[in-house]
Amino acid sequence: MTTMTAQATQVYSIFIKASPEQIWEAITTPEFTHRYFHGTHVTVAADTYRCVDGDGNAMIDASVSEYEPPRRLVHTWLALFDPEQAAEQPSRVTWEIEAQEDGTTLLTVVHDQLEGAPKTAESVSGTGWMYVLSGLKTLLETGEPLAG
């Protein structure tokens, strides 16, 4: 297994057979997120980002800086579930949603500004974001979660 320092800018993109509106709803409402985002309930509005576990404990501390449904969402990211990551600098997550001509939608997640957050960078790389995005794709395309 090759080990290396995780990148400070990470890009993940995936084609999903769903409309931009469906994808927007799936990333901003808790009824969807708890089925693919490690069981967390995420609520996003123009001035709110809330991510809690089943018991209501905050998992991510974030504030929304760009909110353009159903195309673009930008928010900060500070993981609270791990004390080492919680002690790092906040990073930034950008969601870009682009409808394609063939009826699919390209979803791109850019997690950047990770220079001051090496533990976070490591945690979201590898299978981190890929697991979340594969789960989101499976949920939207089949109506069933990837795992469980």
């Binding site: 993940y12 995936i14 084609f15």
Partner: protein, 106 residues
Amino acid sequence: MDDDQVFKALADPTRRHLLDRLFERDGRTLTELESELEMTRFGVMKHLRVLEDAGLVVPRRQGREKLHHLNPVPIRLIHDRWIDKYAEHRVAALADLKQELEEETA
């Protein structure tokens, strides 16, 4: 982005080399990538284009520069669809064989 495009993109040593360079250090310009390959700028651009079409490389503008980022998601999906399935089967077959042989000697 379909599997055919991903397999086609991976079926070339130069393109695999480009992916390895991006894996080492992501977010590079064409000029940086070109400097590591004995190939014309046009040749590198052509290969990057195939990788972009397959979704394996995502170009992003940063200021005046165009940076190329590795997108590992298509490889993951190929892995889930094509590698996992057969590797698991192989492992299961070996487990069955072991069990059968052990039963015979018991």
